[in-house]
């Protein structure tokens, strides 16, 4: 049967609309809040109103007596449940035991104290109001530098110095670098606390079935399998009898790369009451109790030659950890150290990280997790150095870039960058924005009294987490490809996408490899009873690691399909090709992929040494991280009267390796840039000295709105990663990392004629206005 095989168009690389969108835009997606079960109870949580307080007594009698209230539990009831897990470890790390409900004291506003379970959410909330706690407030400390001062209140009485750890890392010879230096620039740079706000807050439903000793937990998480392992441990259950489902997850940005007290707490409640129970986090609780991001105070010193050659970078990093460790809290600042050399070839670094306890909610991974802070540090220092020696910011970058022939490039921090051509990316950006012309325009603008700025950031990022030794829980990812007898394909990924679009991009990869229509592929994830063990979604790893695991599973399917095809065509193994959905022999005879699938399940024609069925599973671990990079340029103008910053142009040239779906890449970049500009311009999580979170609502915490965003001009250079078979690097965090230093560099450049050399974020109009008043005075005096 000679057939004409039509060549199929490759889907990888195409702007394909997301397969997940129809359910999202028609409101038919299932989030945790949509889970309804018979006899479902509802929980509300009493939280500490004090930054630090002793609990002298708790009286639950009035709450327990409220009609509709089923149970009230306090710290004394939950001692059999394991405490919150921190997976990160560092030598000498102090780990406070953080119970899922407070014991005799609370150490941050929002600390869970008691849970009221009732027939509905409103009665539960009323019950919370009826609990009487005899508080004895004590002095709180929320500023990490104040917490380190002698005589500061101790967040945990057993550690009066409030120091959780000190981590040192040296690379090269710093003393020599400073001895050789002709110029040293120093700056204190703050990367402020940020409050992640996914559109969907956290939420948990727990359903215990005593007869089966089986627990089902629905939770809004990025890491369903890891969360299951941790929760089984906390609740003392068999891991195989715990089913964890991450249904539709409405955003995470790292804040759901975590296992929180409420997850084990709902499991405990369901086991106690033998009924399912639901807790949905309110927005106010999200502000107070879901992890925050950043929280750095960095003291940086850069040593260089007068010709712009950077010799070394010294960093003292004070990390505001908050009151206890969530899953990865202490690990995040160590990532900043790894990325502190940026894209530059200097050989000497020296870093000291001091992790500080404060009476605040813990900081942890938030989009970029350690790398935005590092990039902001090096990119600000490079600009300040350029200003100091009177060199153009683009020129100083070219002078110090690792060259395209230096790869694999071993950095001063000990990482091996996989591939890149940094100068080519900056070339493209400068050309697209007409850098030379812009600098001429700026001279003109300044002559007219306008405050115009041009800010460049050439960022690097480590992602595709990662080799297992570099991660706390396994750095591999898994994929199963299940071909049904009809030839329809189900992909099960250990990643847990929640907005990144892998239901689409993974379907593109599978459709291309198997030669089936896109619609014949579905991608399942997030349910531990359906999907083989996986690691989850974070660190821009889904495509580079999960996509690679999928690629290899697809190769296994291809091999098996080819053997079936050869058998069906009556030729030897190896005498067929599988392409465009057909298995074809040298005579042009072919069978379709669907016919092969049918035969594999029919089980009559089985190739020697093979077996029925067409399913493959792969666990794949990369040998290294992947290292995307890029050049972001922002042209801005500062209003002299109001301090308002206007972004005139935003250009992003990113090299993220091979691109599976440009539409998804655009979406990731736009979102990332929005979050980065949010930090640069508006967002600030603020605690007062008593430990009250004074930026605890959207009225006080300035989330960026769509109307505040600039038009983003985006382009790419493509340097495939040699680390994985897709050549992909990662784009989830690139926008967040590249944008903040570009924005600050731009505004500092705009205000440079007034004598401004650094501005800490967020650069609110009020802050800029005040700065201009100061500078104007200096200018007049000068």
């Amino acid at each position: 049967m000679t057939t004409t095989v039509t060549k199929l168009e490759k889907l990888v690389g195409k702007r394909i609309k997301r397969k997940e969108d129809p359910r999202l835009i028609t409101g038919t997606a299932t989030y945790v809040e949509d889970v309804k079960l018979p006899e479902l109870l509802h929980a509300a949580i009493l939280r500490s109103p004090h930054g630090a307080a002793n609990i002298k007594s708790i009286d639950i009698s009035k709450a327990a007596a409220l009609p509709g209230v089923v149970a009230v539990y306090t710290g004394a009831d939950i001692l059999g449940v394991g405490s919150v897990v921190c997976a990160a470890d560092l030598p000498g790390l102090r780990k406070p035991v953080h119970h899922i409900l407070a014991q005799d004291r609370t150490y941050f506003v929002g600390h869970a104290v008691a849970v009221v379970v009732a027939k509905d959410r409103y009665v539960a909330a009323d019950g919370v109001d009826l609990i009487e706690v005899d508080w004895q407030p004590t002095q709180a400390v929320t500023d990490p530098e104040k917490a380190l001062a002698a005589g500061a209140p101790a967040v945990h009485p057993e550690w009066p110095d409030n120091t959780a750890f000190i981590h040192n890392q040296e690379g090269g010879d710093m003393a020599q670098a400073f001895a050789d230096a002709e110029v040293v620039v120093k700056q204190r740079i703050v990367s402020q606390r940020l409050i992640p706000n996914p559109m969907e807050t956290r939420g948990v439903v727990a359903d215990w079935k005593q007869a089966d000793k089986a627990m089902t937990i629905w939770t809004s998480t990025q890491i369903p399998h890891l969360a299951r392992s941790i929760l089984a441990g906390q609740l003392g259950l068999d891991e195989n009898r715990v089913r964890l489902i991450a249904p539709e997850v409405g955003g995470g940005f790292g804040s759901k790369l975590n296992v929180y007290p409420e997850e084990a707490l709902m499991g405990f409640v369901s086991m106690k009451l033998q009924k399912p129970v639901k807790w949905i986090e309110s927005r106010r609780e999200n502000f107070q109790t879901t992890i925050h991001g950043r929280g750095h105070v960095d003291y940086l010193e850069i040593a260089a030659k007068r010709d712009g050659t950077i010799l070394g970078l010294k960093l003292k990093l004070i990390q505001d950890l908050g009151a206890y460790h969530q899953l990865l809290t202490p690990a995040i600042p160590t990532l900043s150290v790894l990325m502190m050399p940026g894209l530059y070839k200097f050989r000497n670094i020296s870093a000291q990280v001091i992790g500080v306890f404060t009476n605040a909610v813990p900081t942890d991974a938030y989009r970029g997790a350690g790398r935005p802070e590092a990039t902001h540090g090096i990119e600000r220092m490079v600009d300040m150095l350029a200003a100091e020696i009177g060199m153009d910011p683009a020129e100083i970058r070219y002078k110090n870039f690792a060259g395209k022939d230096d790869f694999p490039f071993l950095t001063a921090a000990g990482l091996t960058y996989d591939s890149g051509d940094y100068a080519a990316t900056l070339d493209k950006a400068l050309e697209m924005i007409d850098y030379k012309g812009l600098r001429e325009q700026q001279v003109q603008a300044r002559a007219e009294g306008k405050l115009m700025g041009i800010g460049i950031s050439t960022y690097g990022e480590l992602c595709g987490f990662g080799p297992s030794p570099a991660t706390p829980a396994g750095g591999w990812e898994s994929a199963t490809v299940k071909v049904e007898p009809s030839g329809k394909v189900t992909v099960m990924t250990g990643c847990s996408p929640h907005g990144q679009g892998q239901e689409t991009s993974f379907a593109q990869i599978a459709a291309d490899e198997l030669g089936v229509p896109l619609d014949d592929v579905i991608v399942l994830h997030g349910d531990t009873s359906i999907v083989q063990y996986g690691i989850g979604t974070f660190g821009s790893r889904n495509t580079a690691v999960g996509g690679a695991a999928l690629f290899y599973a697809l190769q296994d399917i291809r091999e098996k399909a080819k053997r079936f095809g050869a058998k069906m065509l009556g030729v030897e193994d190896g005498e067929v090709v599988l392409a465009d959905g057909h298995c074809t022999d040298s005579n042009g005879n072919s069978v379709t992929f669907q016919q092969i699938a049918g035969a594999a399940y029919r089980g009559i024609v089985i190739p020697t040494g093979s077996e029925p069925g067409l399913v493959a599973t792969r666990f794949w671990e990369p040998s290294n991280f992947a290292y995307p990079y890029g050049a972001h340029i922002i042209v801005s103008e500062v209003d002299k009267e109001t301090g308002q910053i206007e972004i005139k142009r935003y250009l992003a040239v990113d090299d993220i390796g091979n691109i599976i779906n440009p539409l998804l890449v655009d979406g990731q970049l736009h979102g990332g840039v929005a979050q980065g500009l949010g930090q640069a311009l508006w967002e600030h999580g603020v605690y007062d000295d008593d430990g009250q979170l004074v930026s605890g609502t959207f009225m006080d915490y300035a989330m960026p709105r769509a109307r505040m965003m600039p038009w983003i001009e985006s382009a790419h250079t493509i340097t495939p990663s040699p680390v994985n078979p897709l050549g992909a690097k990662g784009v989830g965090e690139a926008g967040t990392i590249g944008s903040t230093p570009a924005m600050v560099n731009s505004v500092v450049d705009a205000l440079a004629p007034l004598g401004v050399r650094h501005i800490d974020m967020p650069m609110t109009a009020g802050k800029i206005w005040k700065l201009m008043q100061d500078s104007s005075i200096q200018e007049k005096k000068a």
Binding site: F287, G696, M699, D700
Partner: protein
């Protein structure tokens, strides 16, 4: 949070001072106050309804008046807790005699009031927004002195409902 400001009352400091030491008058003048009972020397039990943006609730607490220096100054401590959070404040109220403002020898007919203090707010109300709290507290102070003025001039009866709800 710092609270500071000035106000005026159209009667002499002695009268103003006495009004502000009289629990019955204070109960009428404090916005949202339901009751103010004397529980000890210069100590009063306070019950107050407060509304702030979308939150409203009952506060139970105490008021302590210390460092009396009639008619020049006194110190006031307020502590209250309720379902929507807690409030703790401490401040000094200073009174000074004012004449007609034309002649330096004119008789003292009015009182200038200067107050400054610190307030600490926690719980749900602390998350509502510092700007809201700031403007609400300023409004409450304004209402308080306006009411005290009426009471001092005898223009107001002793209707306990007249206090209204703070923040409304």
């Amino acid at each position: 949070m710092k609270i500071a400001g000035t106000s005026q009352l159209p009667f002499p400091p002695e009268k103003a001072y006495d009004l502000m030491q009289d629990p019955a008058m204070l109960a009428l003048a404090i916005p949202g106050c339901n009751s103010l009972e004397k529980t000890g020397d210069n100590e009063y039990k306070l019950s107050l309804k407060m509304a702030l943006a979308s939150l409203s609730g009952q506060f139970e607490g105490k008021v302590t008046l210390t460092e009396p220096n009639r008619p020049y100054s006194f110190k006031m401590l307020v502590e209250g807790t309720g379902k929507i959070g807690f409030v703790k404040g401490e401040g000094v109220i200073k009174l000074s005699g004012l004449g007609d403002g034309i002649s330096i020898t004119s008789a003292i007919t009015a009182t200038g009031i200067e107050f400054a203090g610190d307030a600490q707010i926690g719980g749900s109300i602390a998350t509502v927004g510092q700007r809201m709290i700031d403007t609400t507290s300023k409004m409450m102070v304004k209402q308080f002195f306006k009411k005290l003025e009426k009471l001092g001039l005898g223009a107001e009866g002793t209707n306990p409902e007249a206090g209204g709800t703070a923040g409304e």
